[in-house]
Structure formats: C-alpha cells, structure tokens
C-alpha cells in the first residue's frame, strides 16, 4: 500500500482538533468572519481526507496504530484506527453536513467570537473519531467529546428554554455515557482487552457468558439513549427543539444516527459471536425500533412548534434505522447505511428551513405563522419536497435505503414491524406537509390536536441574507437526490465489510480470510413508496381541512384516538425524573429479555 496513504487515518481528527485549539487561543484577534472561513476550510479538509480513505480502502482497510504500538504476537497493546469504507464514508458525510451548517450559520454568532466554531469543530471531531476508531475505550472518549460539545452548544443561546432543554439532554445522556462505561468495564473484566478484534476473539471463545451479555445490554442502552429510541428518546425532543437551528441540523442529521452506528459496530464487530446478543438485537431492538417509528410519527403529527415536530420525526426515522440494523440481514444493514445518509441530508435541510423561518419570519410556531411564509416561498418548495421524501417518495437516497430495508422486511418478518415503519413514514411526511401547507399556503385556519402542544416564542439573528441560508439548504436536498444507484452498491459492500470483519488481519495473525462478498443485485421495484406518499399527502390535507368534515366524524375520531394521544402527551412530560424512570424501564426490559433467552 502507498506509504503516504498509511498516514491519513489520524488526520481527520488531529486536523480539526488543532484548528479548534488555535481558534480558541487566537480567535479573538481575528477579524469577523475569518473564524467562519477557517472552520469551513477545516471541515472541508477533514471531508476530503475521509473521501480519499473511503475510495482507497475498498480492497483492504487502513490500519493505523497510534505511537507505533503494533500488536505483538496477535496481542494488541496499543490503540488503532481501522478505516473501512463504511466508517470513512460516514466521516465524509459528517464533514459535509458541518460544511453546509457552517455556511448556513455564516454570521450567526457575531457577538461571541470564535467559541461557536471551536465547539462545532470539537463536535465534528468527536463524531469522525467515533466512526474511525477500533478500540472500545477510545470509542467512548470520542463519544464523550461529541456529547459534551453538544451539551454546550444546546445551552449556548442562554435562553431559559434552551438551558432547561440542555439540562435534560445533559443529565440523560451523561447517564447513558456511564452505562456505556460500565458495560465497557464488564467486558474488559471478562475478556481483558479493548481492541474490537481482540474483543471479538474473546467473545467467540465464551459465547454464552452472562457477563458479556450484561456488558452489551449496558452499552446498547447508552447508545440507544443517544440514538433516541423508545423508551430512551425523551430528551431528544426537548433538546432539538430549543437548540440553535444550525446545531439542531447536526443533532438530527448526524448525532442521533451516529449513536445507532455504534449499535452496528457493537452488534457485528464486537458481539458478532454471541448468540444471546444477536437474539436480543433481533427481538427487543427490532421491537424498540418499530415502536420508535410509530410513536415518533404520531408525536410529530401532534406538534405545533416546528423544530419540536421535526425532532419527533427524527425519532421516527431513527426507529426505522434501528429496524434496519436489528433485522441482522445484509439488505437491512445496507439499506440502513444509505437511509442514514439520505435522512441526514433531508432532515438537515428541514432544520435549516426552520432556521430560515426563525430568522426571517420571527417565529417557529406553526399556528402563529399561518400564511406568513409567502415572502420566502422558495423555502416552502424545498420543505414540501423534503416532506414528500420523508413520506417515501421513490426518488433519491432515502428511497434507495428504504427499498433495501423493505427487501429485508419482505423476507418473512412480522407484519407489525412493516406497519410501524410505513406509519412512521406517513405520519412524519404528513406532519411536514401540513406545516408547509399552513405556513406557506395559509391553509388550515382551524388547528386540531396540535394546538394543545407546547410551544414558545423564539427568534434568531435576522440580518442574514435569505439566499445565503437557502444555498446550503438546497445543496443538502440536491445531494440527497444524487447517485442513488452507486450509493446502493457502496452500501451493499459496506454492509458486507461490517458484517464480516477480518479480525485476524488487524491483529497481524494469519487466519482464514472472511468469505467473499456476495454479488450485488438490484432491488425489485415496489408500489409501497407510492402508497406511503399518497397516504401522507391525504393525511396532510385531512389535518388541514378536518373542520370542514361533518361534526359527527370529528367527535367519533376524537373519542377513538383521543385517550391514546392524551397518554402520549402526558408521558412526554419534560420532567427529568420521569425520563430517568424510563431509562430504568428500558434497562429492565434488556435484563428481562436476556433472562428469557
């Protein structure tokens, strides 16, 4: 292999870290807008390195042992970055999302010097490091770097709502971090290693160990908190709704799905040889994913605060991602990886539109903004289109991923999971389309269920030109439409690499090489996306015109659905104590599932 390529792996984290440090020290001496430009350049550089690595690791991974501490006799004594195409492409995607977000936030934070950029660069570094590392404790450290910068960015605006949301976010996610650390300690006790490959060998040697199962349960719970899965998801709506909109772009576009990528790594790279763990993933995690898809969808439809609505739609789509992982199937995982990127681009664009509303319309309340969106109609076009894509419009990356996941679901799985996935797509799509119709077309003069949901009066810095905010928004939506055929092939290969990691090669052992990757085949077309899109359109129109229906229909609908919605609303209480109770419930569910195996 080319010698200079072998030096690439640490660069996408070392570079932004160094730039962040320099910006922190010298940022106040620089003229306005220079920190913006430096941060954008650093993100672009990190992205370019990730793309280079992704395209040069198709045959064999790039392994970089920090400090030259290579394994001795198959025993890892150092910490490695092992770069495969899946991790490298994810890193590139994260960098891209940061470039777009930093462009979007150009001039957003004039008064606070470069601190915003420092935090954003640290945030990006944490996520990229998480995708490249090959050591469990190192993974935890990147996870923590990502979390702490996210906590600080949420409360950054120092408004009351933002501080309260940041507190909920910090407390719940910190508990998640400690759960991960506890699980990490348990597996270290049992196996005595932290490198993924050494761990995988250890797990293979004692597949039935209860300590190993407990370790997975703890770590998975921590990652499911970050990945916002029912019943660990409560913090997300509070945090995403109150964070500054550029920060919410990253939260929904990348942070949540990175948590789920962690589940992928654990399931395949570390615990691949443990039947109890595989069983847990295939039963409980599949169920949690389906539940998140459904609950997130219904909750999204009930919101009036647009960022909160988008936050619930993220929970729903994260649920779909978890279903893709938990199917334990090549098609499912391949689709999940593509869907992750497609959803990240589309949801990022939607949060940018929310940011445009905050900046130009001076509000974020759907009912309050009815008909006020006409002057910024291009944003409405993008929003409507993005809503259709959430619903499953058969175009672009989201659809490519969904078709693959659908293929895995078709091969003999419970109808209820399929139903929950479609329900999530239809409800979230309808919710976004309803907002578009109400804000940009002035429809829906009488509000329904959403009127009872929490909202606030916030606004964001107003003097930014509309085009500057629209360019990154359309860029993200445009990118989500490109290259779906290639993405499907790359996803297929990436899923195969993730499912059959070559542990012996990493440790420098001469073992049998993993089986070759099965040939890629095209997904047969399906009518389901069209049905979901039509249903979402229909539901959105119904939501906007329900007051024109005969009164009798409305009351019987209320009587049937009302109690369910009331319970859902009551459960999302905003109280941190309640949320911790739910975390404990989720942990107990993990324990019970293991006990039943």
């Amino acid at each position: 292999m080319n010698a200079s390529l072998a030096l690439l792996p640490p660069l996408p984290v070392a570079g932004p870290l160094a730039v962040a440090g320099l910006l922190l020290v010298f940022g106040h001496m620089l003229p306005r807008r220079v920190p913006d430009a430096i941060a954008i350049l650093a993100a672009i550089a990190a992205g370019v390195v990730c793309v280079l690595m992704a395209t040069h690791t198709v045959q064999a991974p790039l392994t970089y042992w920090f400090g030259g501490w290579t394994p001795r006799h198959g025993l890892p004594i150092g910490i490695a970055f092992v770069v495969y195409p899946p991790g490298a492409w994810l890193g590139a995607f994260i960098a891209l999302l940061f470039v777009a977000t930093l462009l979007f936030a150009w001039g957003y934070y004039d008064e606070v010097q470069a601190h915003f950029h420092v935090l954003m660069l640290l945030f990006m570094t944490g996520m990229i490091g998480f995708c490249l590392t090959h050591d469990l404790f190192n993974l935890f450290v990147w996870f923590e770097l990502m979390s702490v910068s996210a906590f600080a960015l949420t409360g950054y605006a120092l408004r009351t709502d933002a501080l309260e949301g940041a507190l909920n976010f910090t407390v719940i996610n910190t508990i998640g971090s400690y759960l991960i650390l506890g699980g990490l300690g348990l597996i270290y006790i049992e196996v005595g290693a932290l490198d993924f490959s050494a761990l995988a060998h250890g797990v293979n040697a004692m597949p039935g160990s209860p300590v190993i199962a407990a370790s997975f349960a703890l770590m998975a719970s921590g990652l499911l908190i970050k990945g916002a899965q029912v019943p660990f998801h409560f913090w997300l709506a509070d945090a995403h709704a109150v964070a500054p909109s550029p920060v919410s772009v990253i939260f929904s576009g990348a942070m949540v799905s990175i948590g789920l990528y962690g589940i992928v790594i654990l399931t395949w790279s570390v615990f691949g040889g443990s039947p109890p763990v595989q069983h847990l993933v295939h039963t409980l995690l599949l169920g949690l994913g389906a539940a998140s898809a459904a609950v997130g969808g219904v909750m999204a439809l009930m919101q009036r605060h647009i960022k909160r609505l988008l936050a619930f739609s993220t929970i729903s789509h994260a649920g779909i991602l978890l279903v893709g992982v938990a199917l334990l199937d090549r098609d499912g995982l391949s689709g999940m990886l593509v869907y992750l990127i497609g959803h990240g681009l589309v949801k990022g664009a939607l949060f940018m539109i929310a940011g445009i509303m905050l900046a130009t319309l001076g509000g974020i309340d759907e009912i309050g903004l009815r008909g006020k969106g006409r002057p910024i109609w291009p944003a409405g076009l993008v929003m409507g289109f993005a809503g259709l894509m959430l619903a499953g419009l058969p175009i672009g990356l989201m659809d490519t991923g969904m078709e693959r996941i659908g293929l895995a679901l078709r091969s003999g799985h419970e109808l209820i999971v399929r139903f929950a996935v479609v329900m999530g797509m239809v409800c979230t799509g309808a919710a976004v389309l309803r907002v578009t119709g109400r804000v940009f077309l002035g429809w829906g003069s009488v509000a329904g269920e959403e009127e009872r949901s929490p909202t606030n009066a916030e606004r964001e810095k107003a003097d930014r030109p509309l085009w500057l905010m629209l360019v990154p928004t359309t860029l993200l939506v445009g990118l989500s439409l490109l290259g779906s055929h290639d993405a499907d092939r790359i996803g297929w290969r990436a899923a195969s690499v993730l499912m059959q990691p070559d542990h012996d090669a990493v440790l420098g052992l001469a073992g049998p090489h993993p089986a070759s990757i099965p040939a890629w085949t095209k997904v047969p077309g399906s009518w389901l996306p069209w049905l979901a899109t039509m249903l979402a359109l229909g539901l959105a129109v119904l939501e906007l015109t329900w007051h024109k229906l005969p009164r009798r229909v409305g009351t019987s609908y209320d009587r049937a659905i009302g109690p369910v919605l009331a319970v859902l609303r009551a459960v999302h209480s905003g109280s941190v104590g309640d949320y911790v109770t739910w975390v404990v419930v989720g942990l107990a569910a993990m324990g019970v599932t293991f006990a039943l195996i």
Binding site: F137, E164, G182, G574, V580
Partner: protein, 121 residues
C-alpha cells in the same frame, strides 16, 4: 468459613458498584434540586470508578511502576488510565452542568427540576 469469607470479599466491589448505580439513579429520579441532582450523577459515575478499579485489582500486587522497581506482579495499569480519563470527563460534565444551572437560577429563581420543564411554563 475462610472460603466463604473470601468469596464475599471478592464479590463486594461488584455489589458496591451495583448499589452505587442503583441508589444514584433512584436519587436522580426523586431529586427536587438540580445541584443535588448533579451530585447524584457523580454517585452514578462513582459506580464506574469502583467497577473499573475492582477489575484491575490483584491481591498482594504492587503499583504498576517499573522504573524504580524490578518487574513483578502489579495491578492492571490500563483500568487506572481509564479511571483517570473517566474522572476528567466527569469533572467536565459537572462543571458544564453547574454552569447551566447557575444561568438558569439567575433567570428562573428556582432549581426544582419539576418546575424547569422546557417549553412548558
């Protein structure tokens, strides 16, 4: 008798870690003051310290410092490094949380988690 005592002794750290996790979570979910709650979060974290240190402990072993002593049986240095990192992370999070709480107290005049529900006041 001795065997049983040793068994109890070897299980003790795990029991302490589990107890700290449980009592910490219970205290967080019943807490009525954010500063108290942050303290409880540190209790949860303490359970990870105990777990990791117990994982590396060996009876009658030295500290893992070899340049002043001849190599001999030592406790596991890896977990000690992990605990050090853990402490740094804990300090960062606690400091950040206290800063948030301080700002919130200036604006709302209360630190009761039940009264500080985002977007519901």
């Amino acid at each position: 008798m001795m065997a049983m005592l040793e068994r109890v002794q070897s299980l003790l750290p795990w029991a302490v870690a589990a107890w700290l996790l449980g009592i910490g979570l219970y205290a967080i979910l019943t807490s009525r003051h954010y500063v108290h709650l942050i303290g409880c979060l540190s209790v949860v974290q303490a359970s990870t310290y105990v777990l990791l240190l117990a994982a590396g402990y060996r009876h009658n072993a030295r500290a893992p410092i070899f340049y002043t002593h001849a190599p001999s049986v030592a406790v596991d240095p890896v977990v000690q490094a992990l605990v050090l990192t853990d402490i740094v992370i804990g300090a960062t999070v606690t400091a950040l949380l206290l800063a948030l709480v301080l700002q919130l107290h200036k604006r709302r005049g209360t630190l009761d988690p039940e009264k500080l529900r985002p977007m519901r006041s």
